[in-house]
């Protein structure tokens, strides 16, 4: 009996160790999808309740009526900002004919509006969960933006929900460009400050190009982690510039402007054809 019990424990520990250290992404994602699917209605309900409460509080404070309007305007602002970014890119190329052609084309990207329904459960990752998944056309490794700029990218997409790896997470890497100097680099998360503000770092910047504090950093549009990021999306501003230890590159500390809270709504940039 005792021997059987020991064997059972050993088998259980062996199974857990296999689950932990043997990468089985599809199986893991399926199991996570089940757990997240069970929790999704409760998360949505809790976040909806919280949203109503905060809206009611705002209405009591005397700005009632403006809440709904504010939300609509924010949606509109993101679309307008996205369009503006696209136009900036075109303008910088200074090709009138190509620009005219692009005007005639429909925007290559479609925005999927999503509510943020919960945060990471442990605090080990800088992630939020959005209330839309595969069924709404969300795919992995797509840019997630808010009215303030780039928020992060989608990672674990299940049928009903998607995890968004925030820009401040060290695992989030985005190909970026310093607008003024037109120099490229790689932005990666650097955690949060003690006050909870996100931090990021732009690495592998050409050491011969002068980078100034306050320079704007935007997405380069080059492929990032196998996904598609639209060019020209605002990431943040350069706060400090340092020389790399190797002396081959320089790197810059960036303060990302887009911080996302539990009650926010974000947009997943998706390929129009996929979303249909």
């Amino acid at each position: 009996m005792l021997r059987n019990k020991k064997l059972l424990y050993a088998a259980a520990i062996g199974l857990v160790l296999i689950a932990v250290f043997v990468p089985l992404p599809s199986l893991t994602l399926r199991a996570k999808g089940a757990a997240r699917g069970v929790m999704a209605p409760a998360e949505r309900g809790a976040s909806g309740l919280w949203q109503r409460l905060s809206e009611a509080t705002a209405a009591i404070r005397g700005i009632g009526g403006a809440v709904e309007k504010n939300r609509e305007l924010s949606h509109e602002l993101v679309r307008a900002q996205s369009e503006l970014n696209r136009l900036r890119e075109v303008e910088s190329e200074n090709l009138r004919l190509r620009r005219a052609l692009k005007f005639s084309q429909a925007s290559p990207h479609e925005m999927i509006p999503c509510d943020v329904v919960s945060r990471d459960i442990s605090g080990w990752w800088n992630t939020v969960r959005i209330g839309k998944g595969l069924r709404a056309g969300v795919r992995a490794n797509r840019a997630v933006i808010s009215p303030d700029g780039l928020v992060g990218r989608t990672t674990e997409v299940t049928p009903l929900t998607s995890e968004v790896l925030l820009l401040s997470d060290p695992a989030c890497r985005v190909s970026a460009r310093v607008s003024r100097a037109n120099v490229f680099g790689l932005v990666r998360g650097a955690g949060n400050t003690l006050k909870g503000h996100p931090k990021a770092r732009m690495e592998f910047i050409n050491k011969d190009v002068e980078i100034k504090v306050g320079d704007e950093v935007v997405t380069s549009g080059l492929s990032s982690a196998g996904g598609e990021f639209p060019p020209g999306v605002h990431i943040g501003y350069v706060e400090n510039v340092y020389q790399d230890d190797s002396g081959l590159f320089q790197y810059a500390e960036i303060i990302p402007r887009a911080t996302v809270g539990l009650l926010d709504y974000v947009f997943v940039v998706s390929d129009a054809k996929e979303a249909e």
Binding site: A12, F21, M39, E43, S118, G123, W125, G196
Partner: protein, 169 residues
């Protein structure tokens, strides 16, 4: 049966609450270990079968909602459950001092196991300073969480009427 259903519902509610609470940067971005506290609470007060149900539900919920591989809770919670269930007759689990000590222990242990798994598997970068902040932060958060969680569940369960054991009246 009703208590088991309530137990699983409370674990679901605990998971929801743990997600909604924002991380505390001063504790290395850690959150109060509500699910670990629930697993420990049930392991200290219920029989072996209930303990396994609570531990498995809490671990699957935690790892299912967490990024990365299935693992930290699946490894840590059963160990907490088995150890607590084994000593439950020898400790005064309702005492505040016991709860403070157990709370710190589960916070520290869960954080250590997670740190170990994430470092070995290369999922998270390792920084000594941040790791120490997280370990001490988790211990403190565990200390504060377990007594609150424990008292809340005892209060909640006290509201459920006991079923009479001698048949229908």
């Amino acid at each position: 049966m009703r208590r088991r259903v309530l137990m699983v519902l409370i674990i679901g509610l605990g998971a929801l609450l743990q997600q909604l609470i924002p991380p505390w940067p001063i504790f290395g971005g850690m959150k109060p270990p509500i699910l670990a506290a629930l697993a420990l609470h049930y392991a200290l007060r219920r029989d072996n079968r209930d303990m396994w149900l609570a531990v498995c539900a809490a671990a699957i919920m935690y790892d299912g909602l967490e990024m990365g591989t299935f693992g930290p809770a699946l490894l840590a919670f059963p160990i907490i459950g088995v150890l607590a269930n084994r000593i439950r007759t020898e400790v005064f689990s309702d005492g505040l001092v016991s709860q403070l000590v157990f709370g710190a222990a589960i916070g520290l242990f869960c954080c250590f196991v997670t740190l170990l798994i994430y470092t070995v598997s290369g999922q998270r970068p390792f920084h000594m300073g941040l790791a120490l902040t997280r370990l001490s932060g988790s211990a403190l958060l565990g200390t504060a969480t377990l007594p609150i969680v424990s008292r809340a569940i005892i209060g909640l369960e006290a509201m459920i009427p006991e079923r009479r054991a001698y048949g229908w009246q």
